[in-house]
Assembly symmetry: C2
DNA sequence: GCCTATTATATAGATGTCTATATTTATACG
DNA sequence: CGTATAAATATAGACATCTATATAATAGGC
């Protein structure tokens, strides 16, 4: 089941190496968590919806809008070609339709289909217990405070580019 | 330069959407930071060393050992085929050699070459200023505390699999 | 009006990651 | 001893992500 870390001594330790700077270790943990969370999400989603794809559906449905590929890419903080790829997958699954703009024929607006809405609702239900379990498993954690610090860190890294 | 988020209102806000659970937003930020940090690292590394590749060199050199692909995969918390791929790239760059085990011919031990050591030293020097800048840019942040919480979160997610 | 610059999207090629599976070698048991 | 199981690595096929570049269409300047 856990094929990657049967060794408790490393599983329960901080990531990275003793001599690494603390901030480097933080980034190492972040990288690992990102991968683990992605896969855990997709494991809960046998319907074949990836986290990237869910993100797009969730985004559009919450806002209740149609958006261009560029707008969605910006909102999700990914490059435009990445979003082109994700939208293409969603189109193949009939979870979104591409609505051409009659005034500007370069533009296609992404519109979630009823099947897409249903898929997103299933995803939310499938993931909720896992999120609750994480919350329960970290009683003392102040996620709001951490969110604030992570956001600062993200903006800082982003500003350097 | 920044082709993904010229819109300050979104760049300076928390990631995710207002209605998302806090923990979900945390994971969203983590995913974004992971990508940003990866690319920033590789941008500083024109010598063509990726973060994954650096991680292997750094790991082996700090410990001063040779390890099998499986051991390295476990230490870096990635699946074995991922590590096979990374080691293959390092081999092509002559940054590591594969030493066959005469007693167990299934095993190959990864050994960093002098060129690999030099590449890692260059990487450390190239990244240090960036890490310092991040530290300076977040004066009030308690990275040690955050590392502790991230580690708990990572272990929790890991245990669910 | 025409040529140029900008914008929106798509394509190509690379990396890392995963799961599932194949291959090779070692170990264990009847 | 021979067969079956286990272990270490490799291969195949998917995704997501990136950068660089191509294509198409709008907008602007002369």
């Amino acid at each position: 089941m856990n094929d990657k870390n049967d060794d408790l001594s490393s599983a329960e330790a901080e990531a990275g190496l003793p001599g690494d700077p603390v901030l480097f270790k933080v980034l190492t943990e972040i990288s690992i968590i990102s991968n683990l969370a992605d896969r855990e999400f997709e494991r809960l989603m046998p319907g074949g919806l990836t986290l990237a794809q869910f993100g797009v559906l969730n985004h559009l449905l919450r806002l209740g809008v149609q958006q261009t590929i560029g707008e969605i890419a910006s909102a999700m903080q990914v490059a435009q070609p990445s979003m082109s790829s994700t939208v293409k997958k969603l189109t193949e699954k009939n979870y979104v339709d591409l609505i051409p703009d009659t005034e500007d024929r370069r533009v296609k607006r992404v519109k979630v289909t009823p099947a897409g809405r249903a898929a997103r609702d299933r995803a939310v239900k499938a993931v909720a217990p896992g999120l609750a379990a994480l919350k329960d498993g970290t009683p003392g954690a102040d996620w709001k405070a951490m969110l604030g610090e992570l956001t600062r860190l993200r903006i800082l890294i982003d500003s350097v580019r």
